[in-house]
Amino acid sequence: MAMNRRQMIRMLGLGAGATFLSPWVERTLAPALGQTSAGRKRLIVFAVSGFEPSKFVPDEITSGRSQDKDSLPPAVSATSSFTWPEMFSPIEDLRDNAILIDGLTNPITGGSVLHGCGFGALTCQHPQGDAASLAPPRGASIDQYMAQTLSANAPKSSLIFGISHRAFSRGWDREASLFSAGTGQSLSHATKATVLRNEIVGLASPDMSADVEGDRRQALRDVLNDDFSRLRSKLAGPERERLDIYESAIVEFDRRFELRNAVSCDGTPSADNGSATRRLDTMMDMATVALECGLTNVVGVAVGTADSHDEHLPRYDGVGEIPVHDYGGSTYGNKMNQLHQYHWSLLRRTLDTLDQGDGPDDETYILYVSTRGTSLNSSHHAQLERWPALLYAKSSRVDLGGRFVRYPSRTRSFAELCRSVSQIAGVCPDGFATGGNVAGPVNGLLPEVVGSSQNACG
């Protein structure tokens, strides 16, 4: 059924909490209209509160498999001779497209030692703390940085969403801290499936009367322009700039609104705000729809990454509560294993769906990261040492080789991984992670990741 945007918004109101449909991947998508999929580059950044080292480090690499807070394990040269970790089993047959990375630092100086302070992906600055914590770089996280290029001509710059257990137990808006939300950070995110659906359908719905609606919006814009002009004449300096930011945002919104006419997303599933499993499941389905139909090319997902991870990890069906401080315990390790496996089952579903419509030049990148490293040299969890990550790249230009690599202590930073991902996706990272407040290397590119695409940016 085709309907205009207003009708869709009304429908959303009625549809909140509607029945969960069968997984979207079971259905056939309508082909995107007016938009070629050739050469598309897509990025998914997925951040999770915690990796269990014993499950992340392959069995054959015995050192560094425990939660030893007092020592750093030795570096490991890139190797592909290992048993694929069970936590990533859903993509074991695709392991050649992935690399496991250990030993990165995430060296933000100052501020709190709390969670959610990672630099570079989703949470690139301290979501709370004192003003000094917000010193540069404080710019866009890697997903937002790359979205400026990858989604420049998509109706939606990016979709960003996440889930947390605690947020649903009390009225406080803790969900906000799933992502950075400080000054200078521009992120709009959803923590409820209905909200994400609103964002998707609100832009993606086909409009029967696009011309009429366009004319109406132009008339409305003409009035607003008068209003902006009146106010602007009374303002100066930074106050005028604040007004200009709003006006520019409207212009950009209108530009992307027009782009929706070139996109047709069919079969967007109903939102489900039920259990954590259902929420994430349905939101990932929606994100897959959005990636497939060209609504956006960048998706960010945060799971349990709020400041304090006590009880923040979602309680998935069949997993339940995870004793987050029972490091090294079998219950903690096994449950974390289940948690990561579930995430990768969702990501695999997305990859399979995208593959169906992909051409030979299409590329998909997944950066799967912890929101923290292990607990060395700080009380509780420092954002310093052994930042674990898995990078997946489906690209004819990239060969990650299914390897595991551990860098020597404090020699390579997580920001470098972010810059490498950007580089291999053809987005020059020159403007990312520049500036201070980072006490480690940020400018290098990881050879194991970048490989032959090192000169892609010239």
């Binding site: 207003r6 807070k69 030692v113 939300a181 521009s186 009429v212 209003d227 009374k234 303002l235």
Partner: protein, 572 residues
């Protein structure tokens, strides 16, 4: 309490915390912010209260003209008023409003979430702002054009549109539209691009334009020229500032009437309106929020604890207790000394989930109930478990941050920045009281410059552990909770235990001044400026004259020339 195995980790933690760095010395807490946006250097020693309250200029310095973006709650309540009409009396409705906020949450990185310059409408929010405008406008238009409703019932025409737009715009913009503005919106209804869609759609588009207008989403403090190069806020701007700041919603009927008849231009009337709007302190969400942000106890949930070892710890419940404590303090402080009540109360709130944290053995229920403490040491809000945990580390006390809070938030002192790399690590052991370990590094010349400003204040809370429980022993020795207050004009000297520390702080005029300075920052939504020393001085005097009634200080803020007189931002 502190295991040897954790020692290595604690080295880093205390290195971090003990660092005399600019990170510890939060520039936003210093009085050094200049009006031109630059930060003046921190004063490296003791209290800076005198410079903060300096009032030696011949005339008050005007503030800058500015826009203040509505908060999410303010937006929702304004839309409610658009639907229901202006409230005829004080709005005590604590509901967030029928529509959801189109904005992201408050910026918690600022000292207070009310700092106006932190809020924009950028790409991340514009979509939800415009969608909210569309949805609200359509609902409103349907009601306005329904049979029997409004002027449209007799047949919709231009005059009807003009009437509807004038009425609704006044509610949203906080002022009557002038003729030119009004006709702009009326012309939209008559625009062929809109008119062809039908009456309801035309009205909806006009309402959508109002709801998306920067004149609604940003309330203005611009003023009208008075001939000497400065501008004076209009009564309507004053009404909106008071209403949104003090009640989180648009002006009620009485405030609007005072703006309409011009009486609100009189500072005495402003004071009267502030007093009216805050006539029931315990009903004030805004005052409650100020105290929560001032004391920062809701950070309790951000400090992780070993829940396997301490299953009784419930951060949310602890914060709920203190929320209840604050409401009761506001109730008791009606016309009384609020700060003294907050600092000296010998009662609190306890529930099942927090009894152990409070060391309370009496009967409790599932919700916070008022109790009187047996302890002589649990006195006031800084001994609430929520505050003690909020200023603790994962598994030990944090006297440095506790002392830093007292120095900066209660004494308005500044912590000087020092190169963190020059600070030697501090090793902790479960066999050594924390005080002794701290003494080692305080004796170091590199560190003592700032730690002498923090540790002697923070160690006064050593009678409590990192979970907020009272204790008598640490590392096998009796707890030593002695210290020394410095940097006040009247209460410097040694103390023994938390109760004595609280008594000194509550009796200090420096603390009272600092409280006023923070209230000014919160309610004005600006950083504290040295140039506002006269306004702060007057507000402090008003607070003293009113025996500590905080309403008197707030009324002084809004009746001061520093608030009422403006200059364009670029003139600075």
């Amino acid at each position: 309490l502190i295991s040897v195995q954790r020692g290595a980790a604690l080295v880093g933690a205390l290195l971090f915390l003990s660092a005399c760095s600019g990170v510890i010395g939060d520039p936003s807490l210093s009085p050094g912010g200049a009006r031109d946006g630059s930060e003046l250097p921190n004063v490296p020693t003791g209290s800076t209260i005198e410079s903060l309250f300096a009032c030696d200029a011949p005339t008050p310095a005007p503030s800058e003209a500015r826009l203040v973006r509505l908060s999410g709650v303010q937006y929702a309540r304004a839309v409610d008023v658009l639907r229901k009409g202006r409230s005829s009396n004080l709005n005590r409705d604590r509901s967030p409003g029928a529509v959801s906020s189109p904005f992201q949450g408050p910026n918690t990185a600022d000292r207070f979430t009310t700092r106006a310059t932190s809020y924009f409408i950028g790409e991340a929010e514009v979509e939800s702002v415009l969608q909210s405008a569309t949805a609200a406008a359509e609902e409103l238009a349907a009601a306005l054009t329904a049979n029997g409703a409004s002027c449209a019932a007799g047949g919709f025409d231009t005059d009807c549109a003009r009437s509807l737009i004038a009425e609704k715009a006044a509610l949203l913009f906080g002022k009557p539209l002038d003729d030119a503005e009004l006709e702009t919106y009326v012309a939209l209804v008559d625009d062929n691009r809109v008119k062809s869609l039908g009456d309801e759609a035309a009205v909806a588009t006009a309402m959508e334009a109002l709801l998306a207008s920067p004149s609604f989403l940003f309330r203005s403090e611009l003023g009208e020229p008075v001939g000497d190069g400065t501008f004076r806020l209009t009564p309507f701007e004053i009404a909106s500032a008071l209403a949104y700041t003090l009640t989180d919603g648009p002006p009620d009927q009485e405030l609007w009437d005072a703006a309409m008849d011009g009486s609100l231009a009189d500072p005495d009337e402003i004071e009267a309106q502030v007093t009216r709007l805050l006539s029931s302190l315990d009903q004030s969400d805004v005052l409650e929020r100020f105290i929560r942000e001032y004391f920062q106890y809701d950070n309790v949930a951000s400090v992780a604890k070993e829940i396997m070892e301490f299953p009784f710890h419930d951060a949310d419940a602890l914060a709920e207790d203190t929320d209840a404590f604050v409401r009761e303090a506001l109730r008791q402080a009606e016309g009384q000394d609020l700060l003294a009540t907050l600092l000296l109360a010998d009662w609190g709130f306890v529930q099942n989930a927090t009894a152990e944290s409070n060391g309370y053995s009496g009967s409790t229920s599932g919700s916070p109930e008022m109790v009187w403490y047996d302890s002589n040491e649990r006195v006031g809000i800084l001994t609430q478990p929520s505050w003690l945990v909020a200023f603790s580390q994962f598994d030990h006390n944090d006297p440095i941050r506790r002392g830093k809070f007292v120095r900066e938030a209660l004494l308005c002192g500044a912590i000087p920045p020092i190169d963190v790399s020059a600070v030697p690590p501090l090793v902790l052991s479960e066999d050594v009281p924390l005080r002794e370990s701290l003494a080692e590094h305080v004796s170091n010349e590199t560190c003592q410059g700032c730690h002498v400003l923090m540790d002697p204040l923070g160690l006064g809370f050593e009678g409590f552990d990192h979970l907020g429980r009272e204790r008598e022993m640490e590392a096998g020795l009796p707890v030593d909770a002695t210290g020394e207050v410095t940097g006040t004009s009247d209460q410097d000297g040694p103390y023994e235990g938390t109760a004595e520390l609280m008594a000194k702080l509550a009796a200090s005029d420096t603390v009272r001044q600092c409280f006023v300075a923070h209230a000014y920052e919160f309610f004005r939504g600006t950083p504290r400026y040295q140039a506002d020393g006269c306004a702060l001085t007057d507000a402090h005097a008003a607070l003293s004259d009113a025996d500590g009634d905080v309403v008197a200080a707030i009324a002084a803020f809004f009746s001061s020339d520093e608030f009422l007189v403006r200059v364009p931002a670029e003139a600075k």
